[in-house]
């Protein structure tokens, strides 16, 4: 189970990925600023990308790396749309506090 060329074990990468993901979740849950929340989402996506790359490297399978590119492309598109929404919300409500943007209630 040793990693090729380096002596860094697989689990370390996965652990790092999990830590990054958890940081993303915590940031998403506790931060009120919409932009920070948005950054937390990116953090989670990249945490997942890391584990994709890790496994791809481990199993010598290129699929995982291709998947990472897909995730990057989608997240870039999402960032564009998301930022546009954030600007629109800010213009309309003059605030970026998540707690005050609760229009999704019925």
């Amino acid at each position: 189970m040793t990693f090729l060329h380096h002596d860094v074990p697989l689990s370390w990468y996965l652990l790092l990925s999990a830590v990054l993901f958890s940081l993303g979740i915590v940031g998403f849950l506790i931060k009120r600023n919409l932009i920070t929340v948005f950054m937390s989402i990116e953090l989670m996506l990249n945490a997942v990308n890391l584990s994709f790359v890790t496994f791809a490297y481990q199993w010598n399978a290129v699929k995982g790396q291709i998947f990472v590119f897909f995730v990057m492309v989608v997240s870039a598109a999402e960032a564009a749309v998301g930022l546009a929404i954030i600007i629109a919300v800010f213009r309309a409500r003059a605030t970026l506090s998540v707690d005050r943007i609760d229009l999704m209630k019925l």
Partner: protein, 675 residues
Amino acid sequence: MTESLHLWLVPLLPFAGFLLNGIFGSQLPKRLVTTIGLLAPLGSLLLVLNAAAAALITAPETCPQCGPVTASVSFPYIETFSRPWIDLGALHVDFSFVLDQLSLVMLLVVTGVGFLIHIYSVGYMGREEGYARYFSFLNLFLFFMTVLVLAGNVLLMFVGWEGVGLASYLLIGFYFSKNSAAAAGKKAFIVNRIGDFGFLIGIFLLLANFGTLTFSQIAARFLPGRAVRVVLQNGAVMLVHAPAHLPSAGILTAICLCLLLGAAGKSAQIPLYVWLPDAMEGPTPVSALIHAATMVTAGVYMIARTHWLFDNAPKALVFVGIVGAATALFAATIALVQNDIKRVLAYSTISQIGYMFLACGVAAYSAGIFHLVTHAFFKALLFLAAGSVIHAMGGEQDLRKMGGLWKKLPVTFGTMTIAVFTIAGFPPLAAFYSKDAILSAAFVHGASGRILWFIGLVTALLTSFYMFRLWYLAFFGESRGEHHHHHSTPLSMLAPLVILAAFSICGGWIGIERIAAYLAPSTGALPSAVAEANPQLEFVLSSLAVAVALIGWIIAHLLYCEKSKRPAQLAAAHPAAYQLLANKYYVDEFYGAIFVKPLLATSKYVLGWIVDFAILGGIAWLLAAIASLGGMILQRWQSGNLRSYAAWLALGAAVVLLFVLLHGTGFDFALAVRR
């Protein structure tokens, strides 16, 4: 069987008329509606006449010169639709029509009288609203009635049976904007349901005990010592006379009683007769066709059709006789004091059908059918003549407001007179022969038969009396009505009257012996005691019947010919008896108190309040309350707060992860990755 009679067209032509007039009638010109409405029954009548001609040629004496004529049609002639109707394992039912002596006679009456009444309706209903609707219903009735008559199995007969009930309901309630007409239609339908219940149970019992519903197959079970071909092991064929394997007498009696209940419902016999007098709310030609000549005699037809059952259930047969005699007498007494011209005739119909049941009760089915035929002629005539009177009086039905009509309505008066003398039983008119056949068959039927005979004789006296009472009240004396705008009677109404009058005169001349001999293959021969009765006895019985009719006439003459106070004095002298009769023995009130009111109360309080409102409503309310309470709780989840949604999402993911860690996914990951 060399030629096809196209029996299937006999019901289908009126059905086509029903569809055409029912769907397009309101848009079509009246002339076209009339044409369609008349052509359909005419087509059926011609087909039936063709069948009759084809069948009657078989009689050898019709052609003495040309030797034995080969039969172009041999009875029973059967037409079966190529595909089965019901084919469920042991249960096999076909769409099959059977023409035999019995159904031919009945068909001739149904289509013949039916066609005449269709013609009459053109004149009678000419100025009414819903002319097309009327004709489409009348055609619908003819469709179902011919299905009933032609049916080759009990189930198909039941279809016709229910169908004529439907047509009857529709036509009784023809003036549906009138409350009493709508109520009368409902009453007829509901009372018939009770009878149909009995019929249906009878069908189930037949199926359970005979395994088939086809008339001929059930009848074959009653043939003694059927020969069965048995192929032996060495290939030889042997005929074995199997003993008739029949259900027990108790089961046969039960079947017969169930069928009798059905017949009593349809034919307005005790205890289910109450709907027929109310059915007079319908247009008069309907009363003539459905509630006098054809549909109400379906019960008699059914008993004659299944006579092999009744022959083997003597106890049930006794019951048939008792029901018939009791109804005949009971209805005749009510008819004595009724003042509505149609109601008198309605009770008279009930009474006359009682005679037919009486005939069946002494196993003289062909006598019953004979009376059915003559009754169809003279009762249809009576109703049509009464309709002509009502038409001329501008809708007045109260006998007390009529009088002196003989001058104003000569044709109606003449034909009505023939009908009155016929029903009273004077020779040589039709009912004399048929009623005489029934009474003499009853007389020779042992001690119980004597009682039935005596009741029949008393009924004949009452019949004669109330019919002459009607005759005198309507046509003689001075006019007692206030409003007099006599309508002229169109030819379309007079022609059927005259034709029916001719049949009422000649209908009985064929005589019971020939009718019985002709019908014997399908209704069984007359009991041997009837055939062996000596001519002197016959003569005495006939004379007695005529004498009784004469007495009835004389009493009616004394009471009603001159404008006298005697009827009123008589009523005043016996107030209790008069009230009892005038109120029809309070049977409607009795049924109302015993059945209708408790049923309505049960429906309203037990079913309506407790079951429907409390139990069903309560359950529905409880379910709704649970749902809305759950909604109220779950609503709080839907805060709109993004972070709370995310928290729940994370929590859910954590739970799923935990579950996978503890239990596995049930999915072989290693395998999936290798692929």
